[in-house]
């Protein structure tokens, strides 16, 4: 079974600061996904990373994938309050079927 760990679990940061959320996974994965979840809402797709060295950016968020280290990062630049949410990474692999294995999530609070 593919295990996914995220850290930190909770993150409180001031507006304007930068921070990185880390996502480690246990076995070979060829696909890594990042989702955002607001309280009481479902998951919104942010990024899909399909190959080693992949980097994608949208606004103040940038995601990267290092398949050799089995690590993905979600970097937040100059945080704003609207980014407050829970962020999940999920890994999948053709070898493990098409189900997603999710991390426990990182609850981000951006303080004005």
């Amino acid at each position: 079974e593919l295990k996914v760990e995220q850290n930190p679990l909770f993150l409180s940061m001031q507006e304007g600061k930068n921070y990185t959320i880390y996502c480690n996974y246990s076995t070979t994965s060829d696909r890594l996904y990042w989702y955002r979840q607001d309280p009481g809402k479902s998951l919104e797709s942010l990024f899909v990373l399909l190959s080693n060295g992949a980097v994608k950016q949208e606004g103040r968020l940038m995601a990267s994938l290092d398949t050799k280290a089995r690590l993905s990062t979600l970097h937040i630049t100059a945080a704003v309050h609207d980014l407050s949410a829970t962020y999940f990474c999920a890994a999948s692999s053709q070898n493990t079927g098409n189900q997603f294995y999710f991390g426990t999530g990182t609850s981000l609070t951006v303080i004005p």
Binding site: V4, R31, Y33, Y35, K41, S42, L43, E44, S45, V48, L50, F88, A90, S92, Q94, G97, N98, Q99, F100, Y101, F102, G103, T104, G105
Partner: protein, 116 residues
């Protein structure tokens, strides 16, 4: 276009009762997934359909849980003899490619099940 829809949005039931949760995927998506999300946790896989058949049901916790997708579109997750531990948000997702390659899953709003 319309996203994944789920009904009901909330369901409160008593221990021992039977419940059905419905998922309507994005039109044209052949793959459909059910996940369960407990408070403070990430979603956990339950079952995956490719078309009408259950391609992987390894995540169903026990034989009280069953899901169907008779016409390859709408799916129903059925839980018999509900227990308090079944309380969670049940999420449905669909994707356009289910067997290989790129597989971005789009999630519905979820059904919050509370077993009293």
């Amino acid at each position: 276009g319309a996203g994944v829809s789920q009904t009901p949005s909330n369901k409160v039931t008593e221990k021992g009762k039977y419940v059905e949760l419905r998922c309507d995927p994005i039109s044209g998506h052949t793959a459909l997934y059910w996940y369960r999300q407990s408070l403070g946790q990430g979603p956990e896989f339950l079952i995956y359909f490719q078309g009408t058949g259950a391609a992987d049901d390894s995540g169903l916790p026990n034989d009280r849980f069953f899901a169907v997708r008779p016409e390859g579109s709408v799916s129903t997750l059925k839980i018999q003899r509900t227990e308090r531990g079944d309380s969670a948000v049940y999420l449905c997702a669909s994707s356009a490619i289910g067997t290989s390659g790129y597989n971005e899953q789009f999630f519905g709003p979820g059904t919050r099940l509370t077993v009293l």
